[in-house]
Symmetry: D3
Subunit: 247 residues, 6 copies
């Protein structure tokens, strides 16, 4: 039995609820799932500026709950916001949605496409894909909608745009599977798979499975070099209270 | 509940037993584990020649058991022998040990080393690592022992050689975690981790967790393009009876 | 004078005959050309599954004829099926069609396109191109026909589709030369070159020239590490009789 | 005449003073140099955790001074902390020390080494070097000292360790020039160059020259896609007050 | 105060004048600018053949003026003709237009396009972009005009073609900035920037700023290994008089 | 029957004679071999400066003899001096020693080392290896001797140094074959192979075989784009008389 924390680095409680629901539905029954978000920061993450603030929010949550015995973390953002810093802060395995989704996609298809809501995310995601060594097999496409369009009255139109972008990528990029490029799409994976007839990989689900796997094997993040604990030192002003204590 | 088949592509029953034991020990309790090997082929896999024959053996096992409802396959060889062909033959997810181990290592360390028994395996594994997009973070080192030395009277000496090679890699390659480069080492992961003080990733365990995860999410291999079912056609002579039927 | 064996890894005798004819036509007159195919296996090679079986057939032919003093081998399949294993089995140079064609194309053009019959081959060929370090200069395109369409009544239509695909690649990919992506096209290189006005490289011809060159210089495959002889060990069942004897 | 802000993302005033002094010494005389640090955050940056907090500090400074008409920014940290987010926040050019130093090194030497104080920085810097496309020509080595050792009583010993590490890299890595891998070394570039006899590139100086150049040409960061202004949205709690206003 | 020589490697005096004018307009006022071209060679550089001859012309100019105390060189050709050889000949920093422009573009945009006059230059420039490590972020497009069309009566039409090619690249390649792929376009950067609404980077201006920066810091080309002085030896016939004397 | 010209781009007649002798010894008997050198230029090629002048010499020879019906060219320099320009000037295939040697080495070994005389050549050769897509499998090592040491009284000592460097690379780099990194070593390939026990690939021999192969197949350099004929234009002064006439 493992205790898995899935942390939405933004402040949207609706979003956190959706992720919690999905996570509990697909987690192995013997595992306990916590879904949390920071107490401060932006309502959504769209680009590097929001990411910088959301990273601190993410770390604040981990600082708080890590001593309670968490066996693994999922960072519920497709930009993998703050994942490197989180890996320094805790010895429990940490997985972002993009990395998790790519690892499954690489095993299921020879070429695949990430379909993300906004065009502005394409280049940052391409950088992430390259960091994970998947750039030769993965393309990134945008549906031309806002992330929040997948909620409420816009949802039908947003889904339609996503479906069209995915179909175009299957046709023109020879994609063989689709990766959902946003945590907020976690509840449409099944529908999209039915409509497309190819595997659809959702990062929320993939990252949870990766972390459940690592946690059950008692695998830990290496504390040598890259992800070593942050060395102790004072933090000041707004960030007094966040100073590293473990290193 | 998923039914996972772990197939040792060589004929060594002792090896198959060891893998079955490990797999059952670490699999999620709700999953059923089959461990099998072909009825023909080599006793071990050392290099491309053995691989060619073992691939056919692997496929013969999958042909036989796939209709019984397997939810996922692990190919229990660190060379990932026949994995691409297996992905064509079945829609269930298929994972080799090298790919599985690398996916966990990439999340747990910034740099890691595969330690494999024989020097002759270093170059083929480097090619595999590059295929999986991990060549910038992963080095491959040899312990200078035979695979079978890990069984029987040589086991103590073989372990010692492995330990030395791993320590050297931590020191000289700045490796932060060790990946066991052979299925036959699956039972020494814990001991090596204790001796080294860094994460030790065993491909048998990692690949099973990856496949358990994909199977529980009902993820399937894409049948478009790269891993499409083999087109139907006659096979002759020795291989009559192995002709594709599904494509 | 060298003795060159060109081995078609599939069972199609018509195909073997066509290759023999081409090979004898273009080989240096002082060289002896053998063209052979295995006595078992698939009628054609379309994807990884067929390749696994054809590799064993290829190796069976080499086992048989290597002791008769072969100076070099061509594997007459554009997927380079079994080439790595063949390099382990014999010390004579071994060349596949894709590798041979790329080596000439790299010297003759700054960018070039492989045009292959079926779309399903595109991704596997892209992987091969990457393995050979040519992925930055080479694109892979499909003509949308079956391999066997180049024989018999479909031949005119197949040629037309190939021509269109090649013209499109010259125009849209800025390809400067065309590589024929299938052994079965070996007899249309001249016609296509005349129709396109750019160099057309046929793997059968290129690979023979590479092997004639290496053979005349008495160059051998290195037996250190990667392509070392397979270590001796028993093979069982269907594969009893194929055990390595040299290593 | 340009107004260049050089921002030390950590809280060390001594460090900021040293950088200011160097910057004013080497800046073109017609340019105005501001040297600043945030009012909150860590005293130094050692690893991803410190970086996450320092990024927010950096952004806070830019928010404050950007409306006063800054023509270009240097982020005075060799980890290029927060540079991507800063490029979103302002249209003025932004340069980190690592990127700046590499651009000069690439023009002055065929191979070069970054020498950084602590071993723990090697892997993160290697990732950065790769991001900047310089990984084939650049190695990263550690001197085995703390960043702060370059101040005060340890300074002589720290310099000696750096010198030895640089000499070793010239000898063993065939490095042809040395890049100082820490902002705190900015005042020893001349001495090291004299002791080594090869070019020594200091990121503080290089980044200032790059930014002075871009600023004098009125070059701006593209606001299309990757570095577009952050879209307006509410920020909460600790970060209320940091919400984007321009997008 | 630095003395910067900008050398047009071809014989077009009109071209040299245009570059001199631009260089003097944008150089820092304390710097002295020389603009020169060889006394022999081709009138323009279009492809590898012209480059071979223009390289010798370039070197002849440097041989003549280097002893007069030049602090830095710009090679005013976007093919970076002869830059490597020039770096051997002098210790002063040497920068080509392509390298200079890319270094600024990399800091100002996540993806950018070089727009060059003739289609025939696309592949050679792609090779150059790859050499500089920028191939993952940079595309090369042709406007379909001759270099000299930017002078005289064709100028309006040439500008129109360039504008269309740049707009197409912004739209279809997701380019975020435009790099002018020819020295002869140096005077249209401002107009194009106004018409496009994205940063336009001119290699003449960028390379001068890079060299002014390196020169003001007294940075020199490393004389170890790659760019070491040419070893002394006799040259004969047409090239008697060009023998290296310094090495 | 083909007419193959092998051009030594430097002025050393002794060198040209040695290459002629080797080329005639190993060429297919039906082929005619011309060995030539320019009438002007340096006595040897050591670095980029010599290369620039030798390239022009090489082109001058091709201009003169191409109209006499040459079927293929070998540029007898391991730096592949002027090969790209030569490919523009003629439609006959052109091959340099480095490219030729690498193509054979890639087929004969999984990893191989170029052993070159001087340390100063290591970086330029590494760049060439990368251009040819072989950098992942090839290392470059220096023997620490001068090129001309392989002639006359120093020959025994030079051979010894080369042997030691090669043995070190087999041992420490896991090289499986050796590539001779200088045209002047062409006569020691057999001796070194006997002393090392691994394949030794000589660029002179390999390039001739590649060109003989392409020439016998009537393969030509593509005249589209990259290697198109140089456009006609006037050349002035020293280079009047070298203007392109074909384009």
């Amino acid at each position: 039995m493992s205790k898995i924390a899935i942390i939405n680095p933004n402040m949207s409680a609706g979003f956190t609820n959706k992720i919690r629901e999905q996570a509990r539905k697909i987690a192995f029954p013997h595992n306990e799932i916590l879904a949390l978000n920071p107490r401060f920061g932006p309502d959504s993450i769209e680009g590097y500026y929001d990411e910088a603030f959301a990273s601190v929010g993410l770390l604040s949550v981990i600082r708080e709950i890590d001593p309670t015995g968490i066996d693994g973390y999922v960072v519920a953002c497709f930009d993998d916001t703050g994942v490197d810093a989180a890996r320094c802060l805790t010895a429990a395995p940490v997985m972002g949605l993009c990395e998790g989704a790519l690892r499954f996609a690489q095993a299921l298809a020879g070429r695949y496409a990430i379909v993300t809501p906004m065009a502005v995310s394409v280049r940052p995601l391409e950088h992430l894909v390259r960091k994970y060594g998947a750039d030769r097999d993965c393309v990134v496409r945008a549906a031309g909608v806002r992330t929040l369009d997948f909620e409420g009255v816009q949802a039908a139109r947003a889904y339609e745009a996503l479906l069209l972008a995915a179909q175009k990528s299957l046709r023109e990029d020879d994609a063989e599977a689709i990766v959902l490029g946003c945590a907020g799409m976690t509840d449409i994976a099944d529908r999209l798979k039915a409509d497309l007839g190819v595997p659809v990989i959702d990062g929320v689900q993939a990252a949870i499975k990766m972390v459940e796997g690592m946690a059950s094997l008692k695998l830990a993040t290496s504390k040598h070099s890259t992800y070593g604990y942050p060395p102790a030192k004072p933090y000041h002003g707004l960030f007094a209270g966040f100073e590293p204590v473990t290193g």
